[in-house]
Amino acid sequence: MAVRMMNNKRVSVHTKTLTTEIWARAILDSFKKLDPRCQVRNPVMFVVYVYSGLVTVLFIQALFGKGESSAAFIGQVTAWLWFTLLFANFSESLAEGRGKAQAEALRNTRKQTKGKKLHQARHGSVFDLVSSTDLRSGEIVLVEKDDIVPADGEVIEGVACVDESAITGESAPVVRESGGDRSAVTGGTRVISDWIVVRVTASPGEGFLDRMIHLVEGAKRQKTPNEIALNILLSGLTIVFLLVCATLLPFSIYSIHMMGQGTAITMTALIALLVCLIPTTIGGLASAVGIAGMDRLLRRNVIAMSGRAVEAAGDVNVLLLDKTGTITLGNREAVDIIPVGNFNVNKVAELAQLASLTDETPEGRSIVVLAKQKYGLRGETSEDHKNFRFIPFTAQSRMSGVDMGEMKIRKGAHDAVTKYVQSLGGVVPPSLKDAVEKISKSGATPLVVSCDEQIIGVIHLKDVVKGGIKERFMQLRKMGIKTVMITGDNPLTAAAIAAESGVDDFLAEAKPEDKLKLIRDYQAAGEMVAMAGDGTNDAPALAQADVAVAMNTGTQPAREAANMIDLDSNPTKLIETVEVGKQLLMTRGALATFSIANDVAKYFAIIPAAFASTYPALGIFNIMHLGTPQSAILSAVIYNALIIMALIPIALTGVPYRPVGAAQLLRDNLLIYGVGGLLTPFMGIKLIDMILVALKVV
């Protein structure tokens, strides 16, 4: 949680300094986007664009006294049609604004970099100073203290602290070293201690930073599948309304012929009707909604590689979560000490404490704390025991401990310690098995403690489930998302943790290939699977998953395989990613519903007005009692333009998402955006009409 708070602070500082700049740029860009090449990409707004041009011609004609209506009326309609376009452009520019500003900041980081290109792939070789733009994939560079990493790469030698704040905003430095899961470095980050030798993995323009710049800028933004489908629906509606309006002219002429009174519907009125009817509200805001969705992820420090990934996140119905770091705190905590044989619990606690004094792992520290708090032992420090020889944990021995003169204290995994004691000729007390099993069954890890050839007790190391995670999973269940815990633990331990944390299912003793198989099985059953991962061995599973979030601290292969990168490296954020995806889709649906529902009121405003001269009887449909036919048409056009502006906040922040079931979401959204969409324009148009009449502008 601390991490998130810090990010929020950083973002808000950013926001304040950027706001004025973003607005100024957005206004400028709204005009720039009037370029027809820009407009043609949005079919709904392109129709508005074409007809705005046509009305402008009618206005010029009217200025010369040959117009079909007064120049003042046509002029105002013309102005508001152009405003409609500008408002739509403005929403898009505003959504792009933050990304553009961030991209600019990133670009500045990249510019000044120089790299030390090594002649041979080893530390100490001679190097040339070259510009980062000249580095190619496969070349070797040396990065020393205070150097900027010139390109993405993999550490092949050395270990260093790296400040990645330029990309993540996280000021705490991270360690990067050769081999293992922490070997990836990113161009633009800074080494703050020691040195590393890096093999470049990305040529200029293809690096992580470059991709990030592209992504946040929205330069390469492609329409997502749902966006395309929605666009087809909107284009279909636009075609219908084009047809409805085009055929009104002959119908109007025929009516006049039959009734012997009135004048044909004017082109201005027809175009006004058309623009009001076609779904300009959602058409104008759709692009902003999509950009804002990616931007919301960015604010949570998650970079989506494509809009498609964000949408897919909304569809996810199975979440694969790694136990450690996601469901439980990364470290286990000692909660109890159980003596075996004839040993006194206090004696065991004392020896365990001694064995853990220099053990800097969280587990080790928690043993010291437990001994002090529960058994009242003084907190011994390692300085008091200078003659002690500490034995660190190794993967081979799977034990750690201390040698105090002749006395050898060890703690470690059950089988490792048992073997060790037996090798010294000791006997395993029968009560050990019971103690170990009891702890295992409760989902915890037993840590066996020995003194010389005797086993003296067991430390109960408990996995600590993160606070609030159970409630989180309950919400997910309500949203229809199944959670599956992945762990290397044995099934017994896994089951206990699963029960405590409230996940729906678990995969115990999971190997990387098991993970891949699990994802494939779920996908074969039609489920959409999301997972988070960081290690190289996660890469195949990440590539297979529908939504894959790689930790920024992860390896290069993991980051390549994923379609999102979490800069904070916080696996719990997978859940937030899902929410952002859902919010994006909901916002689109809600605005589309609102936009289409609006049309009913617009018909009531324009149809009686357009046929006022032929059929005064249609006046009974003027239920809003709008002033004059001209004020009615103008009010509808103005409403249509202003509603885009009014809805920009919703487009950018998204429809509020609550983790409830689909039925309730639908009911609430239908009520607000469906019924609201029917009623709002009646009030809006009436209000605008009253103002127009009061101002006597028509």
Binding site: G236, M528, Y615
Partner: protein
Amino acid sequence: MGADLRESEFSPSDKKWGTHEFHLFDRRYHHVRCVDLFDLHSVKRGTDVMIDMAWIQFSLYLAALIGLAKPLGVYMAQVYEGNIPHPMRWLSGLEKAIYQLTGQGKSEEMSWKNYALAMLTFNTAGFLFLYFLQRLQGILPLNPQGLPAVSPDSAFNTAISFVTNTDWQGYGGESTMSYLTQMVGLAVQNFVSAATGMAVLIALIRGFARKKMETVGNFWVDLLRSILYILLPLAVIWSVVLVSQGVPQTFDRSMTAIVVQPASTRVFSEAGPTKDAQGQIRAEQTIAVGPVASQIAIKQLGSNGGGYYNVNSAHPFENPTPLSNFFEVLAILLIPAAFCCTFGVMVKDRRQGWALLTVMSIIFAVFLVIGYSFESRPNPLIAQLGVDQPIGNMEGKETRFGVGESVFWATATTAASNGSVNAMHDSFMPLGGLVPLVMMLFGEVIFGGVGSGLYGMIAFVIVAVFVAGLMVGRTPEYLGKKIESFEMKMALVALLVTPFFVLSLTALALMTSAGKAGIFNSGMHGFTEVLYVFSSAANNNGSAFAGLAANNFFYNVTLGLAMFFGRYWIAIAMLAMAGSLARKQKIPASAGTLVTHTPLFIGWLIATIVLIVVLNYLPVLALGPVIEQLMLNQGMMF
């Protein structure tokens, strides 16, 4: 159907008498009418009773419809899934024999493209056969009347009309088509065009039911099973019921009768006034008979609607009694309603079928009530003349049915794409006439045609599901199938084809002199008539508002095109959708899935359908029936 031919002999001022006077010359009808006239005095006292009777009839009808929908729907699902129910299994030998005869042998599954190709091939062959049958009927047998060849444009129009299950008739049936044409041509198409629609629907349902499959079924098998196990048995049952009510079933030639009042023969006689040896005007009437009952049964069951007689089921031989009326109107909606249940069974979630049936029933009931409330009221202009109209607006209605059954038929026949009539929709009050018009403008999805109604409804469902699905934050899905851009494209093709042809062809007719020449009525009633005729054709209904001379080159061709595209564009789009859906994975439902059988979704689907129709057609409805009613209220009439 079309009463226009005869209408063309009216001057506009005669029109308002409509079909009444025609039947004065029918002996049987004359008798009925005399009784009614006699009864009229007592009717006034019984008004309230009659209106109550209408509600009881409506309720009884809907109960019978929904009660029969389930068993028939389940039966049909079994038929299409290949598990022919035991009582009908004796027909499967015949089915196998037909496959062997036609070289189908072991019928293989088809991709959607092959399915569509088979459907089009079959329908093209049907079209050509029907066209040449009409053109050559003069020299072919079974033509006791010696009727001549049908004109090319009329034959084109009629061929398309029957192949597309529209059964619009620009001609008078009994006086144009020989027995051979009626039986081998039209009656056969009544079966196969209906079966075509059913087959397309079944392919679409399979698209939802299957997963990760390339095929959607075999067209020939679906077609044959539709006819053999569903349409034929039902038609036999209905024929027997209708014969019991007095509908003729004979191969005798028409009878000639001498009428009582020769003065009015100009209007009604088929052969025109003839003079006898003494030089006196002696009017004769030809009373057409023939294999009527069997054709009426299938025209009602198969949402065909093309009657044996020109005035369709207003004719006393087509529809003699209130009981025959009940069965005929039940037949209109029976199969379309039952298909909802078939759908539910085949996609293995019956609630989905009930949800769609509920949507259809609610919209139907609402419009029925609207229509009835306008028709059961007196015509204000006639009321001004001091004429009492205790049972509502009776202009153009049969007294043996009255307002209730007439409105009921009108709503049902236009809800389903049937198009048969038992009253003249043209003579309805403007807003009463709006009801059948709007029912057609719904795109024939409120029950709709057999098969075509439900696949049209599914196009609306796709749009409703898409928007609702987005609102719950998921890529929209229906029955576990993701609704993506391809499905959206196909659904929109289905929803846009009809408004496109209705609006553009209506505009074309009103802009050209050829189009305007056919309009009898002045003012906006003429506009409504043109709008109605194109709505009827593009939606494959075939119902006529009358008041329009449509048997001419302009209308024969434009209506033919509207019928053609209105049928096949939608059918092909739906088959394409079926193919795409069948290929897709089925997503298991979860709490995050949009449920599509709850009252909330039913309401949303109704709202979507109504909104789309309103947005498409509000201006034309305002300029047509609405303005007519408004002006009628002000004392103006067209």
